[in-house]
């Protein structure tokens, strides 16, 4: 009986110590200035740690998927708590920019680091800053189920009878990078023909999964043979030895920029600027490429001259979608997709 009691006592003490831990950590941070970062990037933690080491400024990171991140930012609208936000997809970013929620007119010191792609993606009012790009969707197929000769080369190939019930993609209402893929198709093909294309895919048995992970899993376990989702996740699967191959259709793939922005009413404006500057520096860009720490997101195409890509995308043709155009239609087209393709 004594034995049981001491076990119980020991457990209770350990739990109490841990509890003290979570509250103490919070209390300690209340006195010093901290950067509050909301991010949906794989490399956010690595970047926060590096910044902390370089500057001594503490970063409090709130990492979550893009969907909850945007819901949180909008629910906090009356009383925003964040200094910096960082996620993929410039449609939502440019919409927040137009609503005046982002700091405008500020130019970071290392803006000269941008390459031509970076300068092209930078909005005129400097409301947000591109930090890298990926393709919102490239073709990927399971090499055990599809031979190289039969692999799809174009978007139209997915409508072939041999891919009936064998094509998968993510749900744009759930997966962050997928709305840009849909909007990109609409821009490439024209809205009406783009809609007809997805309807034809659906007639051919298109399967819609929640996010990159589910779709990749379905591809690997044979539920589907071909898929289209964010190319960094596709490349990462290939590099980690999964039986897949990535194909960039010759008509082009939609560019998905990752953007970082400062809150117009940032509680800690000075360090927010310092952080953005750090991300765009050579050191910050290198940290984003630490694939051990950051996973597939590290396989981005750089928008600065200070780093080289980890993976060279051969023969890729980029389609750049106007964020304002995509952003204004986002609610309607996501709804259209939900009503006509998901259901």
């Amino acid at each position: 009986m004594w034995g049981k009691r001491s076990v119980l006592l020991g457990t209770a003490t350990a739990l109490l110590a841990m509890t003290a831990g979570i509250f103490a950590a919070d209390a300690a941070s209340a006195s010093t200035p901290v950067l509050v970062l909301y991010s949906a990037q794989g490399y956010d933690q690595a970047e926060a740690t590096a910044f902390q080491q370089a500057t001594g400024i503490k970063v409090e990171l709130s990492d979550m998927s893009t969907g909850p991140l945007l819901a949180k930012v909008q629910a906090e609208k009356q009383n925003p708590q964040w200094d910096v936000i960082w996620f993929d997809g410039n449609g939502a970013m440019s919409s927040l920019n137009r609503q005046g929620m982002l700091l405008q007119g500020w130019t970071p010191g290392d803006i000269a680091n941008y390459n031509s792609l970076g300068l092209r993606l930078l909005p005129q009012n400097h409301g947000f800053f591109p930090t890298g790009v990926t393709a919102a969707g490239a073709l990927v197929y399971n090499t055990k189920l599809v031979s190289a000769a039969n692999a799809p080369r174009t978007w139209q190939d997915l409508l072939k009878p041999e891919f009936r019930n064998a094509v998968g993609m993510n749900n744009p209402a759930i997966s962050g990078p997928t709305y840009p893929l849909v909007a990109g198709m609409f821009q490439l093909m024209g809205v009406n023909r783009g809609m007809s294309y997805f309807e034809a895919l659906k007639r051919n048995g298109l399967k819609v999964f929640p996010t990159n992970g589910n779709t990749l899993q379905a591809l690997l376990n044979g539920t589907i043979k071909v898929a289209m989702f964010q190319d960094s996740a596709e490349i990462n699967a290939k590099l980690s030895g999964d039986p897949v191959n990535v194909i960039y259709p010759t008509t082009g793939v939609t560019m998905l920029p990752s953007d970082i922005a400062i809150n117009a009413k940032a509680p800690d404006m000075a360090i927010a600027k310092e952080f953005v500057q750090f991300v765009l520096s050579g050191k910050g860009q290198k940290v984003m490429q630490d694939i051990q720490a950051a996973g597939s997101d590290s396989l981005f195409q750089p928008v600065t001259k200070v780093v080289n890509p980890l993976y060279v995308r051969k023969g890729v043709k980029w389609n750049v979608v106007s964020p304002v155009w995509a952003g204004t239609h986002e609610a309607a087209w996501t709804q259209w997709f939900t009503d006509n393709i998901v259901r």
Partner: protein, 571 residues
């Protein structure tokens, strides 16, 4: 409780009618657009009906499984009862994504079932029937836990007495066990019902593949699209709230206002009910159930955690490796997030049990319309998906007004803790109330009449008689918090991630193997804590019960009027 559960829920739900309540600038202008889109959309209507049917069917099936298992492990001489109890707990505490993932893999073309049965099983399972089955296998422990408490209070004597009186098995169930256990059964069934209504994991995966749209999916879609559609999410959540209100009316109709005292002084555990010749078959059936409900999906994830790529689990060829585990321990916040979650879980469970006890006590004393409404609200809160509750908390706690008065709750560990307690309270109060129903009012009245304080009543009567129930509630809350995702994502204090946040981050990075390794390690750790506590709780529970029985026996020697109106109460 009002602050914890009612206000945050209202903060979001009110936006169904006042869409600009928390906009900049805020406005009280009402609009019915959200509700109208709901009523005019056949898909929404179909999802609502599907959700309702699925919840009802799952509640029935899960209760049937749960009651049978509880009977076998509490009253009979089934071999390995403690092991079976342990497995029931493992299923209860396992994160649902672990199980969902296993099922997905199992049902995939080229997966196990396809090879074995030529796709017949796949077709059966990828349907509403399959979805019901999978959910029932995950959720039946809620029913087992609720019913086991009732059965323990009942004791084996009842069964022996009935058998001696010539009752057959069906009579025993129909005329004695089921009627006596009704409150516990209904408690368990209601939790399952509400759990299914708010489930997202299966709604987004298996149900989607089976072309079986569910309401939670629409709610998540409305909340995660940009710009976010709070009014639509609120209006849709109202459907779920309505469903639970209906279910609770059903409960009232069945249970009525009868009393359900099953713990009285004299029940003893004389001898286990012998199963006789059916023993080996029943054991085989229980073990098969555990294998299907837990073994297969868990094994899949364990296998994935040892695979190099990890995403494909069993299918990708490659040599097993422990690299994922090594990596999982090295990633920033991997170990920290686990410690954070343990601390939150322990604290939330402890406070949840205490508050649950207080509420259950208060209800026992008063009763009446206010109790009815609060009780209704609590179960309703289970049916509302976590992300809705989380958004409600942001609206409420991030109000500029609170900043002006210096109440900075949002973004602190305290806010997340409060949200966890609020999330656990419905379970705590539901199960606690079921357990409390069984304590004879006479025992409490007698103690109070003879001058015992409320504290004495709790210490000497309620805790000894329902001790194991509280241990189980604690564990239920603990396990629920450790792997909680939607509320954690929205409310965790920046810089202090929780376990589920960490695991999801790994899945986002498509590091499935590391995510699986984290899941396996944390599930194993939680399982160890749970089994330890159960072991501690079981011993002391049995001891104190025995003591209480002796005490009650002594009291029974006195004339009845002295210890209160035994006969008259509760009629």
């Amino acid at each position: 409780m009002t602050v914890l559960v009612v206000l945050p829920l209202l903060a979001l739900l009110a936006q169904a009618v006042f869409p600009n309540l928390f906009s900049v600038p805020a406005s009280l202008a009402p609009s019915t657009a959200g509700l109208q889109s709901l009523a005019s959309d056949p898909y929404m209507l179909a999802s609502g009906v599907n959700s309702l049917l699925l919840s009802a069917a799952t509640a029935l099936l899960a209760s049937a499984i749960g009651i049978s298992v509880a009977y076998l492990i509490v009253l009979t001489d089934l071999p390995g009862r403690r092991v079976v109890w342990g497995l029931v707990w493992l299923i209860l505490i396992s994160p649902s994504f672990l199980l969902a993932q296993g099922w997905e893999l199992l049902l995939a073309p080229g997966g196990l079932t396809n090879n074995l049965l030529g796709g017949v099983l796949t077709r059966v399972l990828l349907s509403p029937v399959g979805v019901t089955l999978v959910l029932s296998l995950k959720l039946f422990p809620f029913s087992t836990v609720a019913v086991a408490s009732g059965l323990e209070g009942l004791g084996q004597d009842v069964v022996h007495a009935a058998r001696m009186g010539g009752a057959r098995q069906p009579d025993l169930w129909r005329r004695i066990l089921l009627p006596l256990l009704m409150p516990a059964i209904i408690s368990g069934a209601l939790i399952v019902f509400a759990e299914v209504l708010s489930d997202f994991g299966i709604a987004a995966t298996l149900a989607q593949t089976a072309n079986f749209p569910l309401t939670t999916f629409s709610i998540y879609a409305a909340l995660e699209q940009f710009p976010v559609n709070f009014p639509e999410a609120a209006a849709t959540s109202l459907v779920l709230v309505g469903a639970v209100v209906l279910a609770q009316w059903g409960q009232r109709a069945i249970v009525g206002r009868r009393a359900f005292t099953t713990r009285w002084g004299g029940n003893r555990t004389l001898a286990a009910v012998p199963l006789g010749r059916r023993r080996p078959y029943l054991l085989a059936a229980v073990l098969a159930l555990m294998a299907v409900a837990f073994g297969i999906p868990a094994a899949t994830t364990v296998a994935a955690s040892f695979m190099p790529g990890g995403a494909a689990g069993l299918i990708t060829s490659g040599h097993p490796t422990i690299a994922n585990y090594v990596h999982a321990l090295q990633i920033p916040y991997g170990a920290d997030s686990f410690a954070n979650s343990l601390a939150y879980a322990a604290l939330a469970a402890t406070l949840g049990v205490l508050i649950g006890l207080l509420i259950a006590l208060a209800w026992r004393r008063k009763g009446g319309w206010l109790t009815g409404i609060l009780q209704g609200f609590l179960t309703t809160a289970i049916a509302v998906p976590g992300i809705v509750l989380g958004a409600g908390y942001i609206f409420l706690w991030d109000m500029p007004v609170l900043t002006h008065v210096g109440l900075l709750l949002y973004g602190t560990p305290a806010a997340l803790l409060l949200a966890y307690i609020a999330g656990g309270l419905p379970y705590s109060v539901r199960v606690a109330a079921g357990g409390m129903e069984q304590i004879p009012t006479s025992a409490i009245t007698a103690a109070r009449v003879s001058g015992g304080s409320l504290a004495t009543v709790v210490r000497r009567i309620i805790l000894p008689m329902t001790g194991s129930t509280w241990v189980r509630i604690w564990l239920m809350l603990f396990a629920g918090v450790v792997f909680e995702l939607p509320v954690s994502q929205l409310l965790y204090p920046p810089g202090g991630p929780t376990l589920a946040v960490s695991i999801v981050h790994q899945f986002h990075n498509t590091d499935f193997g590391i995510g699986a390794a984290l899941t396996v390690m944390s599930t194993a750790a939680i399982a160890a804590v749970s089994l330890l506590l159960l072991w501690l709780g079981q011993g002391s529970g049995r001891r104190t019960r025995r003591r209480a029985a002796v005490r009650a026996g002594r009291e029974a020697a006195y004339p009845a009027p002295l210890i209160g109106g035994v006969k008259g109460e509760g009629a």
